[in-house]
Symmetry: C2
Subunit: 197 residues, 2 copies
Amino acid sequence: MARWEPNARERLERAALGLFAEHGYDATTVAQIADRAGLTKSTFFRHFADKREVLFGGQDLLVERFGDAIRNAPPGATAAGCLAAALEAAAAAFTPDRHELAPQRRAVIAAHSELQERELLKRARLASAMAEALRGRGADDTTARLAAEMGVLAFSTAYARWAAPENRQPFTEIARAALGDLQARAAALGESAGAHR
Amino acid sequence: MARWEPNARERLERAALGLFAEHGYDATTVAQIADRAGLTKSTFFRHFADKREVLFGGQDLLVERFGDAIRNAPPGATAAGCLAAALEAAAAAFTPDRHELAPQRRAVIAAHSELQERELLKRARLASAMAEALRGRGADDTTARLAAEMGVLAFSTAYARWAAPENRQPFTEIARAALGDLQARAAALGESAGAHR
């Protein structure tokens, strides 16, 4: 019975976000999502564990992409260079045709504290994965953890700016600027280091 | 019926951690905790919403202490100076007589993924509270968010070192060193800022 369905994942995602917006997240069922996407429930479950994962499956992919990009950065790359590579790799998930989905996703999450908690946990996992990849390249633990938090901040700032309805700038440009801003702030926060030793 | 009980909160905490270690977190009831502490269930519920809060109530107090310390830092204090003040204020919660409780608490949390998630969420709230207090002092949003993450990293590193069974160093010293290390790393991460702009 299992047929290959072109773009099933994206069709399910669009159907789900539409239904969440129209009827509310709690009232929407997997059967309704599959139905609107013109697919079966079993196709839904091949792509997502449950309806919540429609909102967060993308973050699991990001964890992989960020980790891979850091592991594959040139041997001489600094920790900051690795963050830049990770953000570059994330850009593939934030294409113009996905732009309209972002505000829908944000609105659903903003309305449910349980989903906000899930988002925070996914971000913590993203930071752990980045720190792990940086340690794998020989970064000391303190640098790895701080750089990973900077990476997550750069990503979340860039995502929020990219997702703004009026934005037309590509994700890569926005992310590069966000990382540069954070690096400048990090330099300033580091300057007074002597005073607290 | 409600009597004032000296040190009720700490007695309940010690009783709970002992029971969690002996019988497991899931098997322990509020009635057993109150009983071992020589107190009533209603006294328990005046201090904690449920048994989980015995583990996390301290983090709510930290959120207040960190925020107050940042708000009350001298007008000319830098963001890094505010973090130092916050860590200094936290030290009151990490006195030598509480040292033995820390490994018990960590062991319970390490054994339960739901409690680990709660810990991550409490840390995210700690970061939000610090960022909010820094913005309240006029820090720009990027500096506030980055400094808050540095503060949480300094705190969690310091707490882990302080809680190590063999440690005898006061929390304040450990926290000061952890913050200094992070500032040095921040300076290094900021150095290559030009390359990514």
